[in-house]
Symmetry: C2
Subunit: 355 residues, 2 copies
């Protein structure tokens, strides 16, 4: 593999100094880009897009062709893991993901097993390999997976949920079964992320997207321990270089101390927390990623730049910041505002350096 | 008016000692009760239920007939205020509230004026009066309103929203207009709450339900100042008795210090924060209300009691706790679990006292 030309992301995630704050955006390959919608139409379905390495590679690269981003993130879906576990993932237009065989009975839970990524998730590893070759050392590639609690939500609910009634009922009535699911999924996620690293992912991120739906005590019981297990099991070095890891609990601002001690190199923040206060709290323990409200991208370009500078000001002139949104970019985002954002972030840092 | 037989709620909200922890539940008069669904059907529509004092009184009292609750809360909707401001509230089955005339143009925003509750919201004040007479001094009656930011979300979006795109776009592009809306709504909410107090509400609560959708900086700019304005303008005493006030920002755990200093007597908590940690943080500044995850009520009665005791243990044997859920009770809640909850909360405290 060729040497990385822009490794600012990897260095920032390890709290090493960088000449500018690197930026990438959650869901940067997505529906707000007309070229994505074009490829998506050609693929026939979202799932076909995920499962066809050449197309997954194509959409992964699209935002990099438009914007001066400092990382690529594998185009995929967190639910490929439960799909590989046999639950039968499908998508209904306008309703989001669904499972044909959600976990409803104890025997289904007891039957869960850890898939072999080299067989059951081969298409993801092939996409990683193809993207790495296409990137040709320009920027690093981030791999990712869902957290065990987040995947369990979908696996038990059978799809999206407003109140997480089924999965929380299971957690509060049969914690033994809940922990069995989480334990199995944590092992599946660990081997899956390690397979992505072996295939070429240069950093990995765990999305604890529904962690924030839990109470403080329940998150510490049902999500945090499984995040720690994943962190413990990750490959830490590859080709002589550290592979940084990121954990992101949406709505997890109150649990920052626990997240900073969970074994990941960096913690993603949503926009509810002041990133300056967060930096003071975590000190030198972890890097921070975030945390602009994606809704800022609905404003005018000057407003976008102004709000981006506020985040950068709040973090201050320290190493260990990766700029990002506090959640995935909205499909309603005008692409020109992404240009304004990326340029503002890069320009700001050069100014700091020049002072 | 007759003297209050059970004033534990009012005393706990003022951090005075009580013999037991008082409990009430957000949305306690609601769809999980078959008798509510019956009255709702008879009313013809949700809005007719809100606008007919006799029916609003009927459903307000229903949960008190079933459960040993320590407060009644006025049955109404936070959107009656923008409705009285002329936006035309209506409900579409399965889609939630909508406005016929959401705020789309600058002239509509400039035209906003503060309604006179004694005329435009007469039906609410009549309901308060009727409920007070029906309660006959058994437990106190809580009045309520939405926070300016929360009401503005609906007024600009025209209904519920997933991403608050319109209202946040306005906030980030035309903060002057946003502040004009918030200023006007804050005045409307203040006179409305004071009218409820004059009509007989013995405590009041402000629901900052969508405050948690804002970034730290945006919440401090667009929600907090207007909560403070309301607190500043509230009638503090009525019939020789203090009228306690409660503020509840859903998702506001990170802003607890600001909320504790915003001028209200008590702060409502959702379930993301450990209530013991919250109590240490606020010290003697405010009482706390909360904070069981409503999903706990989907468990078995013993599980409900166990989780309720965990909240009580976390708060500890201090004055100033009102037990509640961290959000409105779900329509899918088995009523017998509410019995288990109320009994567990009351039993726990008697045990504490006996030790």
């Amino acid at each position: 593999m060729s040497r990385l030309k822009n490794d600012a992301l990897l260095r920032a995630l390890l709290r090493e100094p960088t000449e500018f704050t690197p930026i990438w955006l959650m869901r940067q390959a997505g529906r707000y880009l007309p070229e994505y919608r074009e490829t998506r139409k050609r693929a026939g379905s979202f799932l076909a897009l995920c499962k066809t390495p050449a197309l997954a590679c194509e959409v992964t690269l699209q935002p990099l062709a438009r914007f001066n981003l400092d990382a690529a993130i594998l185009f995929s879906d967190i639910l490929t893991v439960p799909d590989a576990m046999g639950l039968g993932l499908y998508f209904v237009e306008g309703e989001g993901p669904k499972f044909e065989r959600p976990l409803a009975h104890e025997w289904e839970i007891r039957n869960l097993s850890v898939p072999d990524p080299s067989i059951d998730l081969r298409y993801v590893l092939d996409a990683v390999d193809e993207i790495r070759r296409a990137l040709d050392g320009s920027v690093p590639l981030i791999g990712f997976a869902g957290s065990p609690w987040t995947l369990a939500c979908y696996m038990v609910e059978g799809g999206s949920s407003e109140d997480y009634r089924k999965v929380k009922t299971l957690a509060y009535t049969r914690p033994d079964l809940m922990h069995h699911i989480l334990e199995t999924v944590a092992r599946a996620v660990t081997v899956y992320l390690n397979a992505q690293i072996e295939a070429g992912a240069q950093a990995v991120m765990v999305f604890d997207s529904w962690g924030g739906t839990l109470s403080d005590a329940a998150w510490r019981g049902f999500s945090l321990p499984y995040l720690q297990k994943i962190a413990d099991g990750l490959i830490r070095e590859r080709d002589g270089r550290r592979v940084p890891s990121i954990v992101f609990t949406k709505g997890g601002g109150l649990w920052l101390d626990a997240l900073a001690g969970s074994g990941f190199d960096a913690v993603g923040l949503d926009w509810a927390i002041d990133i300056g206060r967060a930096r003071e709290q975590v000190g030198g323990r972890v890097a921070l990623q975030g945390n602009l409200d994606p809704a800022v991208l609905f404003a005018e370009p000057e407003g976008v730049a102004y709000e981006a500078r506020k985040v950068l000001d709040a973090f201050g002139p320290h190493p260990g910041h990766v700029f990002n949104l506090g959640h995935g970019i909205s499909q309603h985002t005008p692409p020109e505002n992404v240009t304004a954002l990326v340029d503002a972030v890069h320009a700001y840092n050069h100014k700091i350096k020049a002072e």
